[in-house]
């Protein structure tokens, strides 16, 4: 049951094959068994059971709120949740409890979905490994599954792989079958990157399609709530629920169309798939490249037009992304001064000293480093040279995409990451800044241009870790993008983690999962 897509579970719930409370308990159980992954910062056991009970009442009466009623979900811990701690994996907000729900969280709750807990991340979503949070790194569930253990001969506890980030907790929650879907946030790839490394579908919708109200910002002009799910169709249904205008976020736009399920028999004959040559970048692993070719070939064989295209300004994107990101970070982090909420230092001989020590104690080196460089970029004498220049290049990057889509390309096919997930020991050999530059290289251009992008898992690497490919589409063409993604999903045959014993103590449970899946599909 836990290994199903949520639509399958939704049907099981309606048919009474399982009750929301039973399902919730199963997931809570699974969360306990996979505690070593460190996917959750807060598990909301009590409220989850209460919500499940309420859902049960509705289902028994035959009046579910929708397909999500009773479905367990996880939320990245940078979305505000009313009366539930929201930490951003930072000491600064270690004990912060917001008085309101983020719009996207509220919409899921309104649908009767059951919140299991708050998922781990890099501090304030600054990172690409989920290794830089105040509550420790998140471990990739696949690095506990048989293929990885067998292929790499990993024996030691320390041989685990990273999840990618910054929404590593959300990806691990979905991948480890403790939640059917999860909210991530995506500023430069923070949803797609861990989605690819953990083998889940990860959607970054068009900027403005989903409300950011209640998402604690990293870069306001690029942040988008991300959706992580076990299937493209699940992601599409969640997108349909979350999308649309929100009066609390002035940057939202009306949804172009109501979105429910995707067509099951989408025909790619008439679409044109662009392969941007600039994404054939140094450091791209041979295996990822092979997957990229494989899927491109699939398209071609199915009659789609596949052509090489150029996005000439791509090479400047990551540098400009960092300038803009750090500048907004410096601005957005200014509010954390220990006065109204959050950590406040004991050292308070003057207001200024209190600010300084509060921020020194509350933020990690990564956050402080970005604030420092961001303030440097915003200095009067530097503003034109860095911020304004980066904005101009951002415009050129958006123009690159516009030109390509204007030339008849419907969707771009690229790798999501350079390779499969690194081992924690290897990943931490380099600092956060270097890793972010490497990891976000294929994902952040879509954020710079505000375009929808989705990562679809395609295969396991020789190490037994997932590889994902990315599709990027024109703004507000999220549905078409997902239809193409689903077409890939239907053909690549990516395995379910439940096919193996991934959790050290869950051999029996996995067997059940496998059986249930077989009977339900």
């Amino acid at each position: 049951m836990l290994g199903l897509f949520f639509l399958g579970v939704s049907l099981a719930l309606r048919e009474g094959r399982i009750s929301p409370t039973e399902l919730c308990k199963k997931c809570l159980n699974r969360i306990k068994k996979t505690q070593h992954l460190n996917a959750y910062i807060t598990v909301t056991e009590e409220s989850a059971l209460k919500q499940a009970q309420q859902s049960e009442v509705r289902l028994l009466k035959g009046v579910p709120k929708g397909p999500l009623d009773g479905i367990p979900f996880a939320v990245k811990d940078n979305f505000c949740t009313k009366n539930i701690k929201t930490t951003c994996a930072s000491k600064m907000l270690k004990d912060y409890t917001p008085p309101y729900n983020a719009t996207v969280v509220q919409k899921l709750l309104d649908q009767g979905a059951v919140l299991m807990g708050k998922a781990n991340l890099d501090e304030f979503a600054m990172g690409a490994g989920c290794t830089d949070g105040a509550f420790g790194p998140v471990k990739n569930p696949w690095s506990y599954a048989a293929p990885y253990r067998e292929q790499t001969g990993a024996m030691l506890e320390s041989d685990w792989a990273i999840t990618g980030g910054s929404s590593g907790g959300s990806a691990a929650a979905v991948a480890s079958l403790t939640s059917y879907l999860a909210l991530g946030s995506d500023t430069g790839g923070s949803t797609r990157n861990p989605g690819a490394l953990c083998g889940v579908v990860a959607l970054k919708p068009t900027y403005g399609l989903l409300s950011r109200h209640g998402l604690i910002p990293l870069v306001n002009s690029m942040d988008v709530p991300g959706i992580m799910a076990r299937s493209v169709n699940d992601a599409a249904i969640v997108l349909g629920i979350l999308q649309g205008l929100d009066v609390r976020d002035s940057t939202t736009v009306p949804a172009p169309s109501p979105l429910t399920e995707l067509p099951q028999d989408f025909d790619v004959k008439n679409i044109c798939v662009g392969i941007p040559k600039e994404y054939h970048a140094p450091g791209l692993s041979e295996e990822t490249l092979a997957q990229w070719s494989r899927v491109a070939d699939l398209f071609e064989r199915a009659g789609a037009q596949v052509k090489q295209v150029s996005l000439p300004h791509t090479q400047y994107s990551i540098v400009c992304y960092h300038v803009l990101c750090h500048a907004e970070v410096a601005s957005n982090m200014a509010r954390f001064d220990g006065l109204e909420y959050g950590h406040r230092s004991q050292i308070d001989s003057s207001t200024e000293v209190m600010y300084a020590s509060t921020r020194h104690e509350g933020f990690n080196d990564v956050v402080r480093g970005r604030i420092l460089s961001g303030n440097y970029f915003l200095l009067k004498q530097n503003y034109q040279h860095y911020f304004v220049k980066a904005q101009k290049v951002r415009r050129l990057i958006a123009d690159d995409f516009r030109n390509v889509f204007g030339s008849g390309v419907d969707v771009l096919l690229t790798p999501t990451t350079l390779s499969d997930a690194a081992c924690y020991q290897d990943f931490t050999q380099e600092d956060n800044r270097t890793r972010s530059a490497q990891e976000d290289v294929f994902t952040q251009p879509a954020n710079m241009a505000g375009l929808p992008a989705v990562s679809v898992p395609t295969a396991l690497s020789r190490r037994g870790l997932p590889i994902g490919l990315q599709l990027i589409g024109p703004a507000l063409h999220d549905k078409k993008l997902l239809s193409v993604a689903q077409w890939i999903e239907q053909r690549v045959g990516f395995p379910s983690i439940s096919d193996w014993d991934y959790s050290r103590e869950s051999r029996n449970d996995t067997a059940v999962t496998k059986r249930e899946q077989t009977s339900a599909v």
């Binding site: 979305f79 505000c80 929201t86 951003c88 907000l93 912060y96 917001p98 008085p99 309101y100 983020a102 950011r212 109200h213 209640g214 998402l215 604690i216 910002p217 870069v219 306001n220 002009s221 009066v247 609390r248 976020d249 002035s250 940057t251 500048a327 907004e328 410096a330 601005s331 982090m333 200014a334 509010r335 954390f336 001064d337 006065l339 109204e340 909420y341 207001t351 200024e352 600010y355 303030n375 915003l378 200095l379 009067k380 503003y383 911020f387």
Partner: protein, 533 residues
């Protein structure tokens, strides 16, 4: 941050002691008079003056709180003197994840103000963040309009009243560089005893219009007159209540001195002034101080806050560009006319502005310009004056004195507003009718006015009757009184008979004294003339 600049602080400190930190609302200064009755900031007498004379140059930066029921970017109420932190939304407290949502009413107020000040309204304007750390700025930045404000390039026309009786009206212009929308900050209250700072966020996020006036003024009186005119305009528009003592209108002045024709001197700032009168004094003080320094061979120091010059700006990423539309026809499809800001609609709703009102009063009623200033300066006084005129046949030029002297004098003495006057316009009109129709003399009319003031509700006729103040027109009675006066003042009678006719007035005064001002002056004059011929 809010520290006063240079030596003006010294003066302002003294002023505070005079005025109290927050003078009562009723203490708003209504007539502008400075310590220098003439706009004459030169330290040397004019006789010595040469083209080398130092003169003051004054520019203003004015923050006007927008009169709106809710804040600029949140739904919190706006109210003065509410309990601390009782009007604070999640956004106002900068809780993480909250976003600004622009209040249309504030935009309309800024557009309306821009139109009234002859500004160009930018069809597209932008919001920026201005960063600085201060305890009462919870986000660490203020959302303002640095790059592209909502209105630019306007003019404010104001008048100075000069001459002995302030009867000479001199019109002047000051260029308005821009009007920008921005957030107000909260308030910090420093408790030195416990070395604590207490923060009140009620004001945080209230909408402000920042108006930048170019350095086109030369002294405190001009600046004060410009501010007063702006205050009247804002009040007429209803876009700002304009009460300086409540901080609804805050004025910072940039002051420098130079010799005409030469580049401007180093400027200093005079900040945090809470009345128009003190503004004039503080500016003149600062001009004198700078001239003094230069004449002693010194240099003026600019003590601008160091971080101001470096503070970073950045586009506000959470607000799309602010678009205003020319008219309903220019609205793009799908935009609700009720939700959009339409310039034409606002233009049509513009009320009569103070300068137009003054011109109209002078032309319609033939009153003196200075009287039109007095009328317009006082909230409700024009309406009062016009209501009196409706109910009396007396000429406006004879009514005006009653309104601007008797009525206003009494109101000021008791610190009342026009609407609180115990004498209503019809009641005053009735009194003036009694005088006009010869039932009472003018001096009696003033007595009746005072009695009416003290016993509201009683009509002029009632008071006249009760106190037997009606005009004495009984010829026999007046003959007898006149005879008594003539008999007891032989010297005066002699003088009149010798041709000094003016002395007759003294006898008339004596008769009026005898009758407590009730004698019909025309009759008395006739009788006295007969008796002294």
């Amino acid at each position: 941050m809010a520290a006063f600049c240079v030596a003006a602080s010294e003066l302002l400190h003294n002023m505070k002691q005079i005025s109290g930190f927050y003078p009562k609302a009723s203490c708003v200064i209504r007539r502008i008079r400075t310590t220098n009755p003439r706009c004459d900031s030169q330290i040397q007498p004019r006789a010595k003056s040469t083209p080398q004379q130092l003169v003051g140059v004054v520019g203003l930066e004015i923050h006007a709180q927008i009169n709106s029921s809710t804040k600029l970017f949140s739904g919190s109420s706006v109210r003065f003197s509410a309990p601390p932190n009782s009007l604070v939304s999640f956004f106002d407290a900068s809780l993480p994840g909250t976003l600004p949502v622009l209040n249309r009413r504030c935009v309309e107020a800024a557009v309306m103000t821009g139109l009234a000040l002859n500004c160009n309204i930018n069809r597209k304007s932008l919001f920026d963040r201005k960063h600085y750390f201060y305890a009462d700025l919870p986000a660490g930045y203020q959302i303002t309009q640095q790059r592209q404000p909502v209105a630019v390039d306007g003019t404010l026309t104001y008048s100075l009243l000069e001459g002995k009786k302030r009867s000479q009206v001199i019109r002047k212009n000051v260029h308005i560089k821009q009007i920008q929308l921005e957030q107000d900050s909260g308030k910090s209250l420093h408790d030195d005893v416990h070395s604590q700072t207490l923060i009140d966020l009620n004001r945080a996020g209230v909408g402000l219009m920042e108006l930048v006036m170019e350095p086109d003024m030369s002294c405190g009186e001009e600046a004060a007159a410009a501010v007063r005119e702006l205050q009247l305009i804002l009040q007429a528009l209803g876009t700002c209540q304009g009460n300086m003592s409540e901080g609804q209108l805050r004025v910072d002045a940039n002051v420098s001195v130079h010799r005409p024709g030469e580049p401007l001197g180093v400027r200093t700032e005079v900040k945090n002034i809470n009345s128009v009168r003190y503004l004039a004094r503080a500016i003149d003080y600062e001009i004198q101080r700078q001239i003094g320094i230069l004449q002693r061979g010194g240099t003026v120091q600019n003590e601008t806050r160091a971080y101001d010059s470096k503070s970073g700006f950045m586009p506000e990423p959470n607000l799309p560009p602010l678009i205003v539309y020319e008219d309903n026809a220019s609205l793009p499809a799908g935009i609700d006319a009720c939700q959009a800001v339409v310039v034409q609609k606002i233009k049509e709703g513009l009320p009569e502005l103070p300068s137009i009102k003054r011109d109209r009063l002078v032309q319609t009623y033939g009153i003196l310009p200075e009287h039109s200033f007095t009328l317009v300066n006082e909230d409700g006084l024009v309406e009062y004056f016009e209501a009196v005129l409706m109910a009396t046949k007396k000429e406006p030029r004879k009514v005006i004195g009653w309104v601007t002297n008797e009525l206003l004098g009494h109101l000021k003495q008791q610190d009342l507003s026009v609407s609180q006057s115990p004498i209503s316009p019809p009641a005053l009109a009735e009194l003036l009718e009694l005088q006009e129709t010869g039932h009472i003399s003018s001096s009696v009319a003033k007595q009746v006015f005072q009695k009416m003031w003290r016993s509201p509700g009683k009509t002029a006729a009632q008071i006249t009757q009760e106190h037997d103040l009606g005009l004495v027109s009984d010829t026999a009675q007046l003959h007898s009184i006149c005879q008594k006066v003539v008999d007891s003042h032989p010297d005066e009678v002699h003088a009149i008979r010798n041709g000094n006719k003016k002395v007759l007035n003294k006898l008339m005064g004596l008769v009026q004294k005898e009758t407590k001002g009730r004698a019909d002056p025309v009759l008395v004059r006739k009788i006295l003339q007969e008796k002294t011929s």
